[in-house]
Structure formats: structure tokens, C-alpha cells
């Protein structure tokens, strides 16, 4: 009799325990599922729906760091840098040591042309985690844009070691080498940049200039023509046309 009672009571106790345990984590479970659904929708280019899912996740857990990170990343993808910075600030107010907050903020500043701020945020990200390639990439790009080419080479070299598959790093380092008067090194990097991302117009522009330095006018002409076909901004167009004109002369 005792054994039979035990056989009935024990599974009931176990079931009650399991139910209570699952209930205690239900909001976290839902928040994660919303985040995951958002990731799935984002991958399918349904950005509005993805944002909605991320917001639902944050509603469930107000200090849900992954939710803010996801929203900031999506805003960057959509080019809403001011929104993204707001999300990063919210994230960093929850956890000032979250490297993602600093990294994403650095990316935003870089895209907004605020290079010193981008360098500052990258440094903060590196002070927390020094193994991610993006802070090095951002610093490299910021140094390049501010014409500090040797520093740009140093930073992008590190970024290339940490992530050898990112074409932007090869482009920045190649263009920096060109500006430093090292056309052979520039050519190797720009070739790699074009191999990894043939859609980046500026890689053709700099490779064209590098070919001019290496006395290969035919190859330079081909690259600069490709660059013009890719429809760059008017300012860059004028520069390329001037070089082309000098080549035809």
C-alpha cells in the first residue's frame, strides 16, 4: 500500500516541481523566442516585423541586452544611425561593459563621419574585449578617412588577422598603402578586396590609381572605367574622370 501511494505521489510532486520551474523562466523563454523570431524575420528582410519582435522581447524583460543589441544592429542595417546610437546608449546604461554597445556605436559614428568618436568608442570596446575584429576595422577606417595612413595600416592589419574574410579591411589597408607610396603592397590588398567583394566601387578606383603608379596604364584605364560604370558619387566621379583624362593624354 505504501509503495503504491509513493508511486502515485512521487510523479505528482515531480510534475508540480517541473511546472513551477518552467513558470519561473517563462518570461525569459518568451523574450528569447521573440528575439529569435526577430532574427529569423530580419534574415528574411522583414525589418518592420523584426523590430516589432525585438521590442516585444524588451517589453518582457526591460534590461534585455540582446534585444537592444539586435535593435541597434537592425537600425544600422537600415541606415538609421541616430536611432541605433539611442539603442546603444540604452544598452550601455544597463551594462556599461557590454562590448557590443561600444562596437555598434563606433560603427554608427564611422558612418556619420564622426571619426574621433568612432575611435573613442572602438577603444572602449577593446578595453572590454580585445579579440573582436570590428573595433580594429572601425579604427582603421577612421584613421584612413582622417589621412593617418600608417595608423590605418596598423589597425587594419590586426583586423585582417582576426577576420581574414572581411573585404573592407583589405580595401582600407590597400588604399592606405597606396597613399603611403607602397603600390605593390596596395595592389595585393586591393586585388583581395575585389576578389572578396567585387561590388565595392572604390576598390577599383584605388586599384586604378595603383596601376598608374606601377606604370600599367591599360589596367588603370580598365579599373577606372569600371569604377565610373558603378555610378559613384559626383565628387568621386570627377576625380576618376580627371585620372582617365590624364591617361588618354
Amino acid at each position: 500500500m505504501k509503495k503504491k501511494t509513493c508511486l502515485f505521489i512521487l510523479p505528482i510532486i515531480l510534475l508540480i516541481f517541473i511546472t513551477i520551474s518552467i513558470r519561473s523562466v517563462s518570461s525569459r523563454l518568451l523574450a528569447d523566442l521573440h528575439l529569435g523570431r526577430g532574427t529569423y524575420l530580419e534574415a528574411n528582410n522583414l525589418y518592420e516585423n523584426a523590430l516589432q519582435q525585438y521590442s516585444l522581447a524588451i517589453q518582457l524583460i526591460p534590461d534585455f541586452q540582446q534585444g537592444y543589441t539586435a535593435r541597434a544592429s537592425l537600425h544600422i542595417k537600415l541606415g538609421n544611425y541616430a536611432e541605433a546610437i539611442r539603442e546603444c546608449d540604452a544598452l550601455l546604461s544597463i551594462n556599461s561593459l557590454n562590448p557590443n554597445g561600444h562596437i555598434l556605436k563606433a560603427v554608427c559614428y564611422l558612418n556619420l563621419g564622426k571619426y574621433e568618436e568612432a575611435i573613442y568608442e572602438s577603444n572602449l570596446a577593446n578595453s572590454v574585449v580585445n579579440i573582436y575584429d570590428i573595433p580594429y576595422s572601425v579604427r582603421g577606417a577612421a584613421f584612413f578617412e582622417t589621412q593617418r595612413f600608417s595608423e590605418a595600416v596598423r589597425e587594419t592589419s590586426m583586423a585582417i588577422i582576426l577576420n581574414p574574410n572581411e573585404p573592407t579591411n583589405y580595401f582600407v589597408r590597400g588604399a592606405s598603402y597606396y597613399n603611403e607610396g607602397l603600390p605593390e603592397k596596395a595592389l595585393a590588398d586591393l586585388n583581395k578586396a575585389i576578389e572578396l567583394n567585387p561590388a565595392n566601387a572604390r576598390s577599383y578606383y584605388y586599384r586604378g590609381l595603383t596601376y598608374i603608379s606601377l606604370n600599367s596604364p591599360d589596367l588603370a584605364y580598365a579599373d577606372l572605367t569600371t569604377f565610373l560604370k558603378m555610378d559613384p558619387s559626383p565628387e568621386w566621379r570627377i576625380k576618376a574622370q580627371q585620372f582617365l583624362l590624364s591617361l588618354t593624354r
Binding site: 529569435g36 523570431r37 532574427t39 529569423y40 516589432q52
Partner: protein
């Protein structure tokens, strides 16, 4: 001629099936091959890093580029595997994760032989290994380029060596485990508890002395040699150890806000998970079929222990050796822990589950016509089905939950 062939072929197949059935290792060979096939199927699933993979792959890239590695918190053995995987297969997911998959597969075989050595009832080692091979956290950890799977593989090799009375080799293996990740040292606690409580050779102190000495000698020697090899310069081992402990103790709950962190008691009292990736799905979570029965298993293991049962003693030694020190350390230092720190402990649960399932099957075989016997069979089938189903839904092999789970929107 055709008729002749028809008559012969079924007979040959029948004979083959009978032969396979009689072969004692057929089941484990099947599980090993299945595990390997599952790992190799998903190895290229994602080209993005899964959680901490970024640290180890980036370090391997730095070493290959002739630069000093940046992440020195963990010892180098596991990182050597990742580094050599990249050298062998290139800087791609195959290179990063190949040796993890191989380690995970070796683990399945090692675990089977541990169970066999515990002299469990026939069928129990296979049951336990089946549960182990199709458990989500084990599968996820051995699918990623993280250090835990190497640590657990060496640890299990150490247990097996000690069970086969090879204390010198056991010391080397546990030292290897600790050189993958320092928590591998806990394997030595398990060995010590097992030696202390095992039913036979209780007074044989030589085995534990040899084990302890070999562990310390191998650990000290290999720590110094491998770190020097990894960093490309002779290192001062004491300085290195100090640095490592300083880094490891810096990550506390008061110092950081870790959403994914969980405390050791939560691993048993709550379902805990960490998402490495949603699509493809890599969720570090103990299979619910294991988590739900953890407390009854511990109670049952204590019961078996009290009766001097080898399986119970070893299982409890494994649990106490790998779990309790972590629990105490967290209580004392407030160190941040994650669910995958529970991975080395899980073997102790699989053993008892295998033991109970085989007991249920035997009970059914002996009481086929009674209600109790039928209930035992139903429970076994239900549990194993639920275990396989949860594995399919949770593991990277299944369709990601976020793709189909209704969320109300």
C-alpha cells in the same frame, strides 16, 4: 538461378543480423557512427562564430600569423586542436570544428566503456550511451569550437584508465583535461572520491598515490612546455598561473551583468539555456528529459551508494567531484558561471538513467503479463521517445524553433 539467389540472400541477411546482434559492440559502433555522421552533417551549418568560438579561432589566427595570442585565460591543449584543425582543413567551419566533432564522437565510445567497466546489467551501458549520444547539451558542445568537449573527452579517458587500474595513464589524461580547461582538474576529485568509496581494493593506496603524483607531474611539466610552445617563448609557470587565476576570478556577478549567466543550483532547479545561434539552431540546454529527472536521479544514486552499488558509487563520485566544487566556488567567490559548465557533470546522470531503464526492461521481461511489467515497458518507451524527440527539436539537426513555434504574432 534467380530463385536460388532469392533463397540465399534472405538467409545471408538473416545470418548477418544474427552475427551483428551477437557482437557485443554492435550497438556502440552504431552510436559512434551515428554521432559522427550527425556532427559532420551540421559542421558547415554556420560560418558565423558560435558564442566563444570567436576567441579561440581568433587566437588560432594570431598564432598562425606569428603574433602572440590575446586570450590567455584558458590553457592551450584545446586551442592546439582548433589551431591544427585550421591548419588541416583551412580557416573555415570544418577547420574550426572538426576536432570538436571527433572528440565528441570519441566521448561516446569512452562513456560506453566506462559504463561497461561499472559492471552494470547487460544492456545498461548501451542505454546510458544512447541517452548520452542523443543529449542536446553534449551534442551542441561537441559541435562547436569551444574547449569544453576536449576537457570532457580527456576527463572520461582519465576515468576509464583509473577504472582499468591504470593510475599513471589516468593522471596523464586528467592533466590533459585540466590543460584544456582548468575545470578539468575536477576530474581528479571524481577519481579520488571513487577510490575512497569503491567497493573493492579499499586499502590499495598505491593506485591513488601514483595517480596524484602523475597528475601533478604531468600537469606541471605539460603546462610549462605547452604554454611555452603556444606563446613561442619560455614562460614562468607560476607567473602564468597567477595571471590566469587573476583573469578567471575577475568575472563575477557583482562586476558584470551577464544575461546568459546562471548559477550552479539553477542548473538543477530550473531549465536553463543559452542561445549560441537561432538560425541554425544551437541552444546550449540540457535536454528536458534529463533535467526533469535530475533530482530523483540524485536521490536514487544516493540510495544505490548506500547499498554499495558500483554504479551508484561511481555516478555519485562523478557528480560530487565535478559539481560540488563548482557550487562551493561560486558561493565563495561569486564567479560567473554558464550552463555549459554543467556539461562535465552530466555523465553522472546518464549512467543512472541507463541503469534505471535497463532495470525497467528487465522487470518487464520478468513480469510480461502483469500490469506492473507493462507499465515498466510503457515508461521506458515513453521516456526514450521523449528523449529522442526533444533532441530532434532542440539540436542543430532539427528545424529551428523560431521558424515554426507560434508566438501569438
Amino acid at each position: 538461378m534467380l530463385k536460388d539467389l532469392r533463397q540465399k540472400t534472405p538467409y545471408r541477411i538473416r545470418t548477418l543480423i544474427i552475427r551483428i546482434n551477437r557482437y557485443p559492440y554492435a550497438g556502440v559502433i552504431f552510436l559512434v557512427l551515428l554521432t559522427l555522421a550527425m556532427h559532420l552533417t551540421i559542421i558547415n551549418n554556420t560560418k558565423s562564430y558560435l558564442f566563444d568560438e570567436g576567441y579561440y579561432v581568433a587566437d588560432a589566427r594570431l598564432v598562425m600569423a606569428g603574433q602572440p595570442p590575446l586570450n590567455l585565460e584558458h590553457p592551450p591543449v584545446g586551442k592546439f586542436f582548433i589551431l591544427n584543425g585550421i591548419r588541416l582543413f583551412g580557416d573555415n567551419p570544418w577547420g574550426w570544428r572538426f576536432f570538436s566533432a571527433i572528440s565528441g564522437t570519441i566521448c561516446v565510445a569512452l562513456f560506453y566503456f566506462i559504463c561497461r567497466r561499472l559492471k552494470m546489467r547487460s544492456g545498461a551501458p548501451f542505454m546510458a550511451t544512447f541517452v548520452f549520444a542523443l543529449e542536446n547539451l553534449n551534442f551542441v558542445q561537441s559541435s562547436t569550437a569551444m574547449l569544453d568537449v576536449y576537457m570532457v573527452t580527456f576527463m572520461m579517458a582519465g576515468f576509464l584508465c583509473f577504472l582499468y587500474d591504470r593510475p599513471l595513464a589516468a593522471g596523464l589524461c586528467i592533466a590533459g583535461s585540466a590543460l584544456c580547461k582548468f575545470t578539468g582538474i575536477l576530474g581528479a576529485c571524481t577519481v579520488f572520491f571513487w577510490w575512497l568509496f569503491r567497493p573493492e581494493q579499499r586499502r590499495n593506496t598505491s593506485s591513488i598515490v601514483i595517480f596524484v603524483c602523475s597528475f601533478f607531474v604531468f600537469f606541471a611539466l605539460l603546462f610549462w612546455l605547452l604554454y611555452s610552445l603556444y606563446l613561442g617563448d619560455w614562460v614562468n609557470p607560476t607567473e602564468r598561473l597567477k595571471e590566469i587565476f587573476k583573469q578567471a576570478s575577475g568575472l563575477t556577478y557583482t562586476g558584470t551583468i551577464q544575461y546568459n549567466a546562471s548559477r550552479p543550483w539553477q542548473w538543477i532547479l530550473q531549465p536553463v539555456w543559452m542561445v549560441y545561434s537561432f538560425i541554425p539552431q544551437y541552444i546550449a540546454m540540457v535536454s528536458p528529459t534529463i533535467w526533469a529527472v535530475m533530482i530523483p536521479i540524485i536521490i536514487y544514486a544516493v540510495y544505490l551508494f548506500s547499498r554499495g552499488n558500483r554504479t551508484g558509487i561511481f555516478s555519485l563520485a562523478w557528480f560530487a567531484g565535478t559539481y560540488l566544487p563548482v557550487l562551493i566556488a561560486v558561493l565563495l567567490t561569486d564567479r560567473v558561471t554558464f550552463i555549459y559548465y554543467f556539461y562535465p557533470v552530466l555523465g553522472s546522470f546518464y549512467i543512472i538513467i541507463g541503469y534505471v531503464l535497463s532495470e525497467l526492461i528487465v522487470y518487464w521481461q520478468e513480469n510480461k503479463n502483469t500490469q506492473g511489467g507493462q507499465l515498466a515497458l510503457i515508461c521506458t518507451i515513453f521516456y526514450l521517445t521523449a528523449h529522442v524527440m526533444t533532441f530532434i527539436y532542440l539540436s542543430p539537426l532539427g528545424v529551428p524553433l523560431v521558424k515554426w513555434l507560434p508566438l501569438g504574432i
